[in-house]
Symmetry: C2
Subunit: 340 residues, 2 copies
């Protein structure tokens, strides 16, 4: 476990810093332009100065080879993007603004060359897109690629939207289209070459877009009574929101924004429904709105469709209503690592 004579880890940290960090001046206490981080990588810990009157948002996420991605299927660039996007999505789900992140990376020595450069490229693009700066991290050698990302965000005090605020009668909304990411994964696993629309569908799986602007708008305007991001699938995640709010919910299958047909993909409408109900990794927002505020929710916010899919109820269970009017309990069918 111990006893080496060299500085391999420091070289790696230098490269990560060069790709993502700000330029550091080792002899001076750094006071860079960004107002959040006051001292970045290269010390025992990072220092940051929170904005007065804000609360901090703290979240972390695993992203593990074999569990969350496959080395031979997922481009390194996508792994870099997605490891940050997933954690940033939790900040979006509170209505917050991401500020900085910590990257814990373990990987085999043979991936420290081109693979890591592409990984850092995707991560850099994500960090810029989400305005989330690298604050520090930890690296080590490992047979498999292990990633853990912690994101620190901020939000005005008292404005964060929790999962627990949904009340009977509230309308249930989702952003975007559900099941696309899961379908993208299924396509990725077929080993077929994917072109045109079938190639485009991969984008949602490989490069998810956390709904930051939408989340911030809903929180700022106090439109969402409860909110979370859809990471494990609607059936599992809506259940969590209802459980936290001590309510039930009903979903209309016909209202779900889903994939309906894709030439040559073998997709049929039942498949589309199953993907929308149980598919993971969409990183769309699931939120509830008081009935009286319904008119204030547009059909799309900054190009992202917003769809009313059901209602919060008094009972504790979840119901799914089909087109023919029949209802049946909606069981959690999303992803759970411990029963997989």
């Amino acid at each position: 476990m111990r006893g080496s004579r060299n500085e391999g880890e420091e070289n790696l940290l230098r490269r990560i810093r060069a790709a993502l960090g700000r330029r550091s001046s080792p002899n001076l206490r750094e006071r860079p332009a960004s107002t959040f981080l006051t001292s970045g990588m290269g010390d025992d810990a990072a220092l940051a100065r929170p904005t007065s009157g804000n609360e901090l948002i703290l979240t972390c996420d695993w992203f593990l080879e074999g569990t969350h991605f496959l080395r031979e299927k997922h481009p390194a660039d996508s792994i870099g993007w997605k490891c940050l996007a997933r954690a940033v999505s939790d900040v979006a789900a509170m209505g917050g603004v991401p500020r900085c992140f910590l990257l814990s990376l373990a990987l085999p020595r043979e991936l420290t060359g081109p693979w890591m450069n592409k990984f850092l490229g995707g991560l850099r693009r994500a960090a810029r897109a989400f305005r989330c700066e690298l604050a520090g991290g930890d690296t080590t050698k490992r047979r498999e690629i292990l990633i853990n990302v912690t994101v620190v965000g901020e939000i005005a005090e008292g404005k964060a939207v929790l999962r627990s605020g949904a009340r009977p009668g509230d309308i249930v909304y989702v952003s975007g289209r559900l099941g696309e990411a899961e379908f993208g994964l299924q396509q990725l696993r077929t080993n077929k070459e994917l072109t045109g629309k079938r190639g485009a569908i991969l984008k949602k799986h490989l490069y998810p877009q956390p709904r930051l602007a939408l989340g911030q708008w809903l929180a700022e305007k106090r439109l969402a009574t409860a909110m979370m991001d859809l990471s494990d699938g609607l059936s599992s995640d809506l259940r969590r929101l209802c459980h936290a709010s001590n309510v039930g919910g009903s979903v209309k299958a016909d209202c779900l924004p889903m994939l309906r047909h894709l030439a040559g993909s073998g997709l049929n409408s039942n498949h589309g429904l199953q993907l929308a109900l149980h598919g993971g990794d969409d990183y769309e927002l699931l939120f509830t709105v008081k009935k009286k505020d319904r008119a204030r929710i547009p059909r799309a916010y900054k190009g992202v469709p917003l769809t009313a899919i059901g209602e919060i109820t008094k009972g504790k269970g979840l119901l799914l209503t089909l087109r023919d009017g029949r209802s049946s309990p909606l069981k959690p069918g999303g992803w759970d690592p411990f029963t997989n």
Copy 2:
């Protein structure tokens, strides 16, 4: 990778919360006694309210089976304690106060019973000892035990001690005794039953004590010009401190607080010196003090010995001076995962 029908992960999270978290009231916005966390586990992210006038300290650490500990050698209780102690030690090294932590845990299903209870027991003891509250985390199933801990701490603005402030002429100090943790690991690996003093020596390896009070005192009194914790071994870590400060350093072998003799252990003085120079995992503090402040550094602070071991120099290299007066370059010989 996906497609289960059950709530295994939530049960696990519930148990972690029960063992470590505050009681949650799912229907109310939590405003508990602790002034830092304002909403803990059970949402997309945790919310915290930083203390006005403070800077945040952010750090994360891997703790991985096979890399940092061995499942069959290290008690689960020690793994729980140590995963938090290591990350808290980075906060101590800045002079800060730990506030809360995020726990990312991946483990095999068969360890979710008694093993995990013991793990959580050690973690709870550490969380209480360091006054560092669980804020949230992520769990998943994995063949091997993977742990990542992020700690958030605080310190009065401008008081954090960086690695970069050492100047030629400053005295180099260490806390505690060096090499004990590495020796403990060597003993643990012998498979012999360890009793008496040889058993006691394991404690430093299994249950390290981050030097929080010492770090806070040095920062508060502005006594340390530079500081870091000793995690990879003095020869590697002093090199990092000197590099960040753009200086060199010389260490007197004779001054090093080290293990000298331990009946029946086969330990001799050269072995003790090698352990003190290159042994990892001590989590003692390495710090530098202006010559004029030397008299203000006691021989021990709250029971922890403080020892002057050398001096900061103008040149860039590290020198080791032996008892006979001969000096030789001190090469980094501490732990580095990428050359191991």
